[in-house]
């Protein structure tokens, strides 16, 4: 158990390091930050001096060493664009993205799992066919189109919900949350739904497939043959066994949720990391882009570590050694 976790940690660290390397080496190519940092009237000599100051003329290896070294020390550098510490910039954006991602994930789970169970148990019903068709269309419309449609309909035409931003937020410690205000919740609905639609479909289909597989297993047939009550059969026996593979995939998806929030955040002007990242691309703000990548990788690795442990909690086969 401890060994298992340590092993996963080592693997995770390896992944993080590789991502850090990619983050640095790839974004170096994105473009010349200097032209973005200076105005039209800045002379070429001044630009050159700035380039020298930023160490952009140093050898490549030296720059990478400095980058990783600083990062390990917890120094994430300063944004070329705003001259603020990158760590702080990203840190202030993390709550927005995480809250959006979590709510989107919750929507996808709270709707996706029951829908998956229903469609698995009634594979031939009309409602099932309808649900499958609707989700199929849902998964086929690009996220940004869904977002724009929602804004247009619920924001502009009906005027029910805000079309951009987070609405009212409350700062709790260093964490700026929109969970504590009505306004914040209202602002959260459209973006979270937009982001959640795709995951919802995936979750539903996954649960459905796994559930159908489990329903055919011997232990479900045996439980049926013993007359275990239907509800218990479906939810205690079948669903629990379904969740084991589902949790893994959901863990993998969470990374996708965070990454796809780039699109959602751009459409809804949601002040999260994704929006910051897009702005940084536009301004060739390399330090921010690099750190963003590393943070994303960190979340991914973290979530999957948690999933691994959940796995152990759910499945006694991983928790308790076989005595035989």
């Amino acid at each position: 158990m401890v060994y298992f976790i340590v092993k996963r940690l080592v693997q995770s660290a390896f992944v993080m390091l590789a991502v850090a390397f990619l983050a640095f080496s790839l974004f170096r190519f994105v473009g010349d930050p200097i032209t973005q940092m200076t105005g039209v009237e800045t002379s070429v000599a001044d630009q050159e001096r700035l380039r020298e100051d930023l160490g952009l003329n140093d050898p490549y290896a030296l720059q990478f060493a400095r980058f990783t070294g600083d990062m390990l020390k917890g120094d994430f550098g300063f944004s070329y664009r705003t001259r603020q510490p990158v760590a702080e910039m990203i840190a202030t954006r993390i709550p927005a993205t995480l809250e959006l991602g979590i709510v989107a994930l919750l929507i996808s789970l709270l709707v996706g799992i029951p829908a998956g169970v229903y469609t698995a148990l009634r594979p031939r019903g009309i409602a099932t066919q309808a649900i499958l068709m609707v989700t199929l269309v849902g998964v086929s419309i690009p996220t940004f189109v869904i977002g724009i449609m929602l804004i247009f309909f619920f924001g502009v035409q009906l005027g029910w919900l805000p079309t951009f931003g987070r609405g009212g937020t409350v700062r709790l410690g260093g964490w700026e949350t929109s969970f504590l205000t009505v306004d914040g919740w209202r602002a959260l609905i459209l973006p979270a739904f937009t982001l959640g639609v795709y995951q919802l479909t995936l979750t539903m289909r996954l649960v459905r497939a796994e559930m159908m597989e489990v329903m055919r297993s011997d232990y479900i047939r045996f439980a049926t043959a013993r007359g275990v009550p239907m509800n218990r059969l479906y939810f205690k026996h079948a669903l629990a066994n379904t969740m084991v593979p589902v949790i893994t995939i959901i863990g993998l998806q969470f990374g996708g949720v965070i990454a796809f929030s780039i699109v959602t955040e751009s459409v809804f002007q949601w002040p999260g990391m994704g929006l910051l990242f897009l702005e940084s691309i536009r301004f060739v703000d390399i330090p921010v882009m690099g750190v963003y990548l590393v943070v994303i990788a960190f979340f991914f690795v973290l979530v999957n570590l948690i999933v691994d442990m959940l796995y152990v909690v759910i499945d006694p086969r991983l928790r308790i050694r076989d005595v035989s």
Partner: protein, 561 residues
């Protein structure tokens, strides 16, 4: 108590309704163990499923009467049927490994089942569960009950399964191949348990099995099925001991006896294509160059261990020892039988010989030359050709995406035996004839054949490499008994004709007895006993061998035709 009359079960398909069971009739009284016997596809499991109302959709009961006591089973709605399940009729499945919910404690599964049918307190249900488990022979039930299924061994698990089936005191239990996945020792214990339950609790059992030995051992009455229809039924000794029906006779002829060796099984002429009369070209080819000498195989001190799964940071995992100190000699041109239960290491031994696994110690010698193991055996090593193998599962041993012709021709070009494509094809066709197949088979895909036919194709593939050693790893354990008889006959003929050295691996003592000249008894990776076949079977010295022989179900001597 249970009365089945005129039962017909159909499965709709795009070719119209397929009748799986037709005009089936049977009756089971309380305390009676009624064997339902038949080969695969006979429809015996379908009968069981129809009674308990768990037919796989879209199958349905088309006609007939299903009466359990005073209840007309066909008249029940969905909810009534479900309430009846467990309460009055229950079921035991074949594989105890998969029959229990892996995520729930045994206790919870038991208590949940009891509470589903009886209005008693959870405490009462729990104490009943403990009593039951103890009745089933599980010691220290009150603490063991808190374990998860994976913490029990296979035999124990089947006891738990039986406890679950019995915990609500049903009148009837449908046991679908309850011992097929178990080793003989465990099988015997489980059968004893079933007998006891029938005698003491007066539970009626419907024992579905393909194993005539099992039926002979415990069934009071038996119904013989074939292709969805009842062949005959009656008291076991009457039906099996003195078969009147031709099919039953055939079946009884095909059962290998444990206590003597018969030269050939009696097989109806129309079902076996005589391997001796056909495939002369292939025969000539096999007997051609370099065929004169048979080769021997020697193993000395072979040990195989696998690295254990690491679970701790500080401890190196203990290696799992699969084989230890295995030494024996296979005489040239003889058949060596390897007997052992699951986990004895017999398949590991086959893999070691074929170079799939590297032995951690010991030497192997083939025809006097050292035989390197594992990765040390080069892809072009001559032994690759000399040693061929016939596998257990006819459904996976042939690549289902390749035509039979492609599969058969592979060794011919791989070893450069026949370079001309047309010649290869001719030889393959002739080889098919030799193993008793029709030439048309060459352009078909494996899944177009039955298990027995596929096993013949697998034998043909092995022969086409012109081997001197043939390793047969449980070649008949997936086959019905009549097909098994045919294949055993074929193997015997081929071995005799071509002087092959054969290593015949099986868990089935009766089968080995029919095949082997010498026998090695394996247990937990060690040799228990070895020697000439007759000696081992008649005067075993090792305790283990004695036990195995004693527990293997046999037909009463007076049934022998």
């Amino acid at each position: 108590m249970l009365r089945v009359e005129n039962l017909t079960v159909k499965f709709p398909s795009r070719f119209g309704d397929v009748t799986a069971v037709e005009n089936m009739a049977m009756a089971i009284a309380p305390g009676e163990i009624h064997g339902l016997v038949g080969e695969s596809g006979a429809g015996k499991s379908t009968v069981g499923a129809a009674i308990i109302g768990l037919l796989q959709p879209p199958g349905f009961v088309a006609d007939g009467t299903l009466q359990l006591g005073d209840v007309d089973l066909r008249a029940l709605d969905r909810f009534e049927a479900h309430a009846l399940r467990g309460k009055r009729v229950s079921m035991i499945f074949q594989d105890p490994q998969t029959s229990l919910n892996p995520l729930m404690r045994i206790e919870d599964q038991l208590v949940e089942t009891i509470l589903a049918h009886e209005d008693i307190s959870a405490d009462a249900a729990q104490s009943r569960a403990i009593d039951l488990l103890e009745e089933m022979g599980i010691e220290d039930a009150s603490s063991r009950m808190r374990s998860y299924p994976h913490q029990f061994s296979g035999g124990m698990r089947q006891r738990v399964v039986i406890a679950l089936a019995i915990c609500t005191n049903p009148e009837l239990i449908i046991a679908d191949e309850p011992t097929t996945a178990l080793d003989v020792a465990v099988q015997s214990q489980v059968l004893d348990l079933i007998r006891r339950l029938a005698d003491v609790r007066k539970v009626g059992f419907m024992l579905i099995t393909h194993d005539i030995g099992v039926i002979a051992q415990i069934a009071d009455t038996v119904t013989m099925m074939r292709r969805g229809k009842r062949i005959e039924s009656g008291p076991t000794a009457e039906v099996l001991g003195n078969p009147s029906h031709a099919y039953t006779k055939q079946l009884m002829d095909a059962v290998p006896p444990l206590d003597r060796k018969i030269d050939r099984f009696r097989v109806p002429k129309d079902e076996e294509i005589d391997a001796t009369g056909q495939g002369d070209a292939a025969r000539a080819w096999l007997l051609g160059a370099e065929r004169e000498t048979a080769v021997g195989l020697t193993l000395e001190g072979i040990a195989v261990s696998f690295p254990g799964v690491r679970t701790s940071m500080w401890q190196k995992p203990a290696p799992h020892i699969a084989l230890q100190d295995i030494s024996f000699v296979v005489r040239p041109g003889s058949i060596m039988g390897i007997v052992g239960e699951s986990g004895s290491g017999k398949s590991t031994l086959a893999k070691t010989l074929t170079g799939l696994i590297k032995p951690s110690d010991g030497t192997m010698t083939l025809a006097g030359a050292p035989l390197p193991g594992g990765g040390a055996r080069a892809r072009k090593h001559p032994s690759r050709q000399l040693i061929q193998m016939v596998f257990q599962d006819p459904y996976s041993s042939l690549n289902s995406r390749h035509r039979v012709g492609t599969i058969l021709a592979e060794p011919l070009w791989l070893y450069g035996l026949v370079t001309d494509k047309e010649e290869r094809r001719k030889l393959c066709i002739d080889m098919l004839r030799l193993v008793g197949m029709l030439p048309e088979a060459i352009d078909k895909y494996p899944h177009q054949f039955s298990g027995g036919q596929r096993q013949r194709i697998a034998v043909a593939r092995a022969l086409l490499a012109r081997p001197k050693v043939l390793i047969c790893d449980e070649p008949t354990s997936a086959l019905d008994v009549s097909i098994q008889a045919q294949l055993l006959n074929l193997l015997k003929d081929l071995q005799a004709s071509f002087g092959l050295t054969v290593l015949f691996i099986s868990h089935n003592l009766s089968v080995v007895r029919q095949m082997a000249d010498d026998v090695v008894v394996l247990r937990n990776g060690r040799i228990q006993e070895q020697g000439p076949c007759a000696t081992i079977y008649e005067t075993p010295t090792a305790e283990y061998t004695k036990e195995l022989l004693a527990l293997t179900p046999v037909l009463p001597a007076d049934w022998r035709p």
